[in-house]
């Protein structure tokens, strides 16, 4: 295959990526857009087997290459197919991390290959790829651990943390300078190590609720890494694809931050200024009003308007079908039912929409935060299923708490508040919720699905 044809096909794949992103931005064309992106990536991958810069075909190490792709497929496809909807956010984080790791490895190999003959700009691009790729890799692993709850979901802040982070960053930059001037192998490996450490330190102080924003940011980072890798390898396709993801990822990160009412800066560096939360929990022993499924059914039965606020607990319990059953039952009794969807309910923006769409909840019943908030004073019952942080009034009343400033669903305006919760444990952000102790709040403890099933049968019996 001639260089011209090779580049032309690469350009075609680049255009397909643009159309893919465009398609993914609209509900009607989203699926087609994704398939188009997959087609572009497949074409680009097949093409590379028919062109070699040294003119020798088939490619050297062909058997190894195909074997490695097979291994990747064996790991990646079942993981993507089998993952529960609840675990999807951390899987996306993990996929993003390995992409960053791949880009860093590619740059390292090309650097080893070029040795002393590398031009300064290529070395700078290599250094950039290694730093950002490694940061994205280790940072994504930490977000994965947080989301999987293999480690604490609270911000990890330690004394002098900000100095350690600043020091690591300075050391990384200094090491980058060392690589550019010495062109040695050791400095590059030190650089990779420092960048990995920086990625970990960078994500540790981020609080649970802000993790989705960080995933999106790291995604944009990986895109830029791929673009820099494209420069090192002289591949137009990688430059286009990487830059597209970098740019669209940055915009998406900003949109997400806006949806949460956070500044990007505040999200990333907020934890440095926030004081460690007083989690000694004065509230643990305070009385709460715990009810039975029958109490909840009665409250719902005599309501005229019910707003259901789903959260991560709904996803964990896979209770989306049961909640739909409940909503249908209430609608049949002539009760006005709406779902109040907080933009970041769950572990990712849009998580609840995806989950409820799976249960065929009519789209008109899903109300976004701005729509539903003014209706709470006319709402008789706010039924909160496995959500906590997104309705926590501390976001309005307690300056300095990790979620302060985040817009919340004003459920306290409703006549009655019902929480379906597994336990008194605080939410993902680890903050006590005053609303739980409010006299108009009723708590029903247990797994969301089990509780909802009981409420449904109690309601039918009334």
């Amino acid at each position: 295959m001639s260089r011209f044809l090779y580049e032309l096909i690469g350009l075609g794949a680049g255009v397909m990526f643009i159309l893919a992103l465009k398609g993914l931005s609209h509900p009607r064309t989203a699926r087609r857009g994704n398939l188009l992106g997959a087609a572009g990536a497949t074409i680009a991958t097949i093409t590379v087997f028919f062109y070699s810069s040294d003119g020798q075909l088939p490619l050297n190490n062909l058997g190894w290459i195909l074997g490695a792709i097979a291994v990747g497929l064996i790991i990646g496809v079942p993981a993507a197919r089998r993952v529960q909807m609840t675990a999807m956010p951390q899987l996306v984080a993990l996929f993003n991390g390995v992409g960053g790791g791949a880009a860093a490895l590619v740059a390292i190999v090309e650097y080893l290959k070029l040795g002393q003959s590398a031009s300064t700009t290529v070395v700078i691009a290599t250094v950039f790829t290694v730093i950002v790729g490694s940061t994205s890799f280790s940072g994504s692993i930490v977000t994965f651990l947080k989301l999987q709850e293999l480690m604490t979901t609270r911000p990890v802040v330690f004394a002098g943390g900000r100095f350690v982070i600043a020091g690591t960053l300075l050391a990384t930059l200094g090491c980058a300078g060392w690589v550019v001037t010495s062109l040695g192998t050791t400095p590059l490996l030190v650089l990779a190590g420092l960048s990995l450490a920086f990625g970990i330190l960078f994500v540790l102080p981020v609080g649970g609720a802000d993790v989705p924003i960080v995933i999106s940011l790291l995604n944009a980072f990986t895109g830029l890494t791929v673009a820099a890798g494209g420069y090192v390898l002289d591949s137009t396709l990688l430059i286009i694809a990487g830059t597209l993801v970098g740019a669209s990822g940055t915009i998406l990160t900003r949109l997400m931050a806006e949806a949460m009412g956070r500044s990007l800066f505040g999200t990333l560096f907020g934890a440095f200024t926030a004081k460690p939360q007083d989690s000694s929990g004065t509230g643990e022993d305070r009385p709460v009003k715990s009810g039975s499924a029958d109490d909840v059914a009665i409250l719902l039965n005599y309501a005229r308007r019910v707003v259901i606020v789903p959260g991560f607990g709904l996803a964990v319990a896979q209770a989306q079908h049961t909640v739909r059953e409940l909503a249908d039952l209430l609608s049949a009794k002539g009760i006005d039912v709406a779902y109040g969807i907080h933009p970041v309910a769950g572990r990712m923006p849009g998580h609840m929409n995806v989950l409820l769409a799976e249960a065929n909840v009519p789209y008109e019943q899903l109300s976004e935060m701005d729509e539903v908030n003014p209706t709470f004073p006319q709402t008789d019952v706010a039924l909160i299923i496995g959500a906590n942080d997104v309705v926590n009034p501390a976001a309005k009343t307690t300056p300095g708490c990790p979620i302060y400033g985040m817009p919340i669903l004003d459920v306290s305006q409703a006549g009655n508040v019902i929480f379906l919760k597994r336990s008194m444990r605080p939410g993902f952000a680890g903050i006590e919720n005053e609303l739980l102790y409010d006299p108009k709040t009723t708590l029903l403890f247990g797994d969301a699905k089990a509780s909802l099933t009981k409420v449904v049968s109690a309601l039918k019996a009334l």
Binding site: N34, T45, V77, E110, L237, L244, P349
Partner: protein
């Protein structure tokens, strides 16, 4: 490649990237992030190129690791995005209405 050509491609790609996602409802934030995530898996192409160049076992080992990781990123990414979007299937028209708000 000529420096100016690269700078042009880079700059134009930034604006295209900004432009294509500037208006998107929060419903689609997650699938869009996941889809964009899969697209950068195309670093697989770069990993295959360096594996072709490799002439010692260290280089080859690192490139093969890069191929495995990039394949997971790319294929896994597209599959998982498709699974998310599958759930919106058949409700496209209604979703459209809300997406325009």
């Amino acid at each position: 490649m000529e420096a100016m050509a690269i700078i042009s491609i880079f700059t134009l790609s930034i604006f295209v990237g900004f432009e294509v996602v500037s208006k998107v409802s929060s419903t689609l934030h997650t699938p869009l992030m996941s889809g964009a995530n899969a697209i950068h898996g195309v670093i697989l192409v770069g990993a295959i190129i360096v594996a072709d160049h490799s002439d010692n076992s260290l280089e080859l080992g690192l490139s093969l690791a890069a191929i495995v990781l990039a394949t997971i990123n790319m294929v896994g990414g597209f599959v998982v995005t498709d699974r998310m979007l599958e759930m919106f299937k058949g409700k496209g028209a209604k979703n459209k209405g809300s997406g325009d708000k």
